[in-house]
């Protein structure tokens, strides 16, 4: 019989939600507000340290909705999707955009266009 790792699965047993992994919780309230306004639940996991992109990717893998948010100690925020390559997050932003990051994480779940203007994202579309 193959080895079954049930940790990830146990995390998934809880109601479906976006997961945030935070090495700082400075702007967490804003992120949470963005998701709540869009009507998508969030689960928060505190971590000791880490880079926002790393944290967001791990969070996305842990989320049964495949959407994760990482907040690093300096307040940097990243929104990631489990289906994307680790090195290519949906968006990275500064603390001041925390609320928008919450909105966009929720919008990834319900399939609405992102609110963060594309110039502020990692891979802007050449035409925009």
């Amino acid at each position: 019989m193959s080895i079954v790792d049930r940790r990830a699965e146990n995390a998934r047993r809880t109601p479906p939600c976006v997961v945030a992994r935070c090495a700082g919780d400075d702007r967490l309230r804003e992120v949470r507000a963005g998701l709540e306004e869009e009507g998508v639940p969030l689960r928060v996991e505190a971590v000791a340290s880490g880079d926002a992109v790393e944290l967001a990717y791990e969070a996305a893998l842990a989320s049964s909705l495949g959407v994760g948010i990482g907040i690093d100690a300096a307040g940097g925020i990243c929104v990631h999707h489990a289906k994307r390559p680790r090195e290519s997050p949906v968006l990275t932003a500064v603390a001041a955009q925390a609320r928008l990051c919450g909105h966009d994480a929720a919008r990834l779940v319900v399939g609405l266009p992102l609110k963060t203007p594309s110039e502020e994202r990692e891979n802007p579309w050449p035409d925009n």
Partner: protein
């Protein structure tokens, strides 16, 4: 054997057809095409012509010195101008309504009360219900706490109007369910101390009370005259998920008709004026009544006037004539709409205002063709023959399409003009040149979608749409799905994209795929189906479409993936076989005139 090349200089495209003339008629060796350099029929065209001739030769593996003659069409300059004029305007004289549709309003239901600023909630009386107006900078937790505290004090808070995108955050923290409209940008303009109503429908539903005149009348206890006044507001709110109506003393919302310019149409036998605000149908009926049109003028100082003047000036420069001699030979008016910001609105509401778009066409009897021919002779060092009426040549070329026969009509759908010609069984050709073609379609798409990006509008015209539904798949406009193994860029996520030649291009608007598709198809219909019918009616014997056996659709816009089908559908009832041309069985809808020039030359040489 003579080696000749036919060259068609179009407004947008210059096309060549290379052939060897043998005893059994022409043997076609191929063709080439390039963008027309400069304005059609001027000496600026030389580089474009040289390019296509060289390309046609090199593709066929022939040398320039083998060439016997270059055959050029009589490239009559055709200039078209486009203009658009808004004929309605929505104005809110006082702040009576907020009809915008935030993505995430909060709560649900209908609340009526007097507007009170959030900061005055703590001190307001408890004798009447209130609508709380929450300005910029108020935190959602404070807002909810303030409303809950007021409610405990006995104040009946029945709804809220909020500046930030906070409606659900506040609603989730209240002890009772009230409707909350958020993202009201100019919330500070909401008048205080006035009766107001806030309505939010359940998700997926639309409001029912504020979009009904008698609903508003019931809430504000309006008399019949006041109800009549408010009925514009109710109509403007139809289809919204949320809305606010504030009853200000003399508040009103108007649908104003803008006094638009007048167009005067001068025919051979009559001269009629028609107001731009009468709409496209009335303008086109007037055009028909004065036909044949010999000129048109626009009222000075209006958009129409300005637009016609521009066309006239450009043309007089080209033809080196005075602008007074330039005459407008056709006009196409199209009803359209333009999204415009509502004057006096509180949340950046847009209204779709009615507008009329106008295409006008000027044609001179003959451009500086001799000068062009002379320069071409020098550039190519070969005999250049100018000749053949363009319409005759197009018909000759079109008839190389398999399955066609006389009586045949061609429809040449270009960028600026729609040209038609009919060849009857006895060889007579009648032709007509109409204003309005592909460029007008692009302009309509651009303005109706509020893109302000002509290039994107051109792509929307030419290519099918899709929606990026996840990072790994898109849904095509026909409902089928396509999977990608590389993740799509976040910018495309949940957006409508155009599937152009250069890949996916997101359309940066909130319009749904279906809305964009509908605008695209209706623009094509309003220009090309209308013009096809106008054109065929004018060339058909006795105006009777049933006398036309075959219609061959030609030109750049015949490459479109749906225009030829829209036209075929429209003329099917008249028993016409209509399809996209396939010149020489190989060229599709291109190269008809160039091919016709060769065929005509071959026929003459044979005699």
């Amino acid at each position: 054997m003579a080696l000749v090349v036919g060259v068609d200089i179009g407004n947008s495209t210059t096309e060549a057809c290379l052939a060897e003339l043998g005893p059994d008629g022409p043997r076609y060796l191929g063709g080439a095409l390039a963008a027309t350099s400069g304005v059609k029929g001027t000496t600026d065209n030389v580089p474009g012509v040289v390019k296509v001739v060289q390309e046609a030769l090199s593709r066929a593996g022939r040398r320039k010195d083998e060439l016997t003659a270059v055959l050029v069409n009589e490239a009559t300059p055709v200039i078209s101008g486009l203009a658009m004029e808004t004929i309605t305007e929505t104005i809110i004289t006082e702040s009576t309504m907020i009809g915008h549709n935030p993505d995430t309003p909060g709560g649900a239901g209908l609340g009526v009360g007097t507007t009170v600023a959030f900061h005055d909630l703590a001190s307001c009386a408890t004798d009447e219900p209130v609508i709380c107006v929450i300005g910029a900078g108020v935190d959602f937790e404070d807002a909810a706490a303030g409303i809950n505290a007021a409610a405990e004090r006995g104040v009946e808070v029945t709804g809220a109007i909020v500046h930030a995108d906070d409606a659900n955050l506040i609603a989730n923290r209240l002890h009772t369910v009230i409707p909350i409209v958020d993202e009201v940008t100019l919330v500070e303009k909401v008048p205080l101390g006035m009766p107001a109503a806030v309505e939010v429908a359940e998700p997926g539903r639309t409001i029912r009370t504020l979009s009904n005149s008698y609903g508003i009348a019931t809430l504000f206890d309006l008399d019949p005259d006041q109800t009549r006044m408010i009925s514009h507001v109710a109509r403007a709110l139809v289809g919204n998920r949320s809305a606010v109506v504030v009853r200000t003393p003399h508040g009103d919302i108007e649908d104003r008709r803008i006094p638009a310019g007048t167009l005067t149409l001068i025919g051979e036998h009559a001269r009629l004026s028609v107001g731009m605000d009468a709409g496209a149908d009335e303008i086109m009926r007037t055009v028909r009544r004065v036909r044949p049109l010999t000129d048109a003028t626009g009222e000075a100082g209006t958009h129409v006037g300005g637009m016609l003047a521009t066309v006239r000036d450009t043309m007089s420069e080209l033809a080196a004539t005075s602008s007074g001699e330039v005459q407008i030979q056709d006009v196409l008016a199209v009803d359209t709409f333009v999204p415009q910001r509502v004057t006096g609105a509180l949340a950046g509401e847009f209204a779709l205002e009615n507008a009329v778009a106008l295409a006008a066409m000027v044609r001179t009897s003959r451009g500086p063709m001799e000068a062009l021919a002379a320069q071409l002779r020098t550039a190519l060092d070969v005999d250049v023959l100018v000749g053949g009426v363009e319409a005759d040549m197009a018909v000759l070329g079109a008839l190389t399409t398999p399955g066609t026969d006389r009586p045949v009509a061609i429809l040449d759908l270009g960028g600026g003009s729609t040209d038609a010609a009919l060849a009857t069984e006895d060889g007579v050709v009648r032709s007509v040149h109409l204003a309005g073609a592909g460029d007008l379609v692009t302009k309509l798409i651009d303005s109706e979608l509020g893109l302000e990006n002509r290039d994107l509008a051109e792509d929307i015209k030419k290519f099918p749409l899709a929606k990026a539904e996840s990072f790994f798949h898109v849904r095509m406009e026909d409902g089928t799905a396509r999977f990608f193994t590389e993740p799509l860029p976040p910018e495309t996520f949940a957006r409508v994209v155009v599937l152009g030649d250069a890949g996916m291009r997101p359309v940066p608007t909130r319009h749904s795929l279906d809305k964009i598709r509908q605008v695209r198809r209706s623009a094509k219909h309003k220009v090309f189906v209308v013009n096809a019918l106008r054109a065929l009616e004018q060339v058909a014997p006795g105006g009777n479409l049933r006398q036309i056996g075959f219609v061959v659709v030609l030109g750049g816009s015949a490459l479109d993936f749906e225009i030829p089908e829209l036209i075929a559908e429209a003329v099917a009832d008249a028993g016409i076989v209509c399809g996209t041309g396939n010149v020489r069985g190989t060229e599709g809808p291109r190269n008809a005139v160039a091919t016709g020039l060769v065929a005509d030359h071959a026929r003459r040489s044979a005699r």
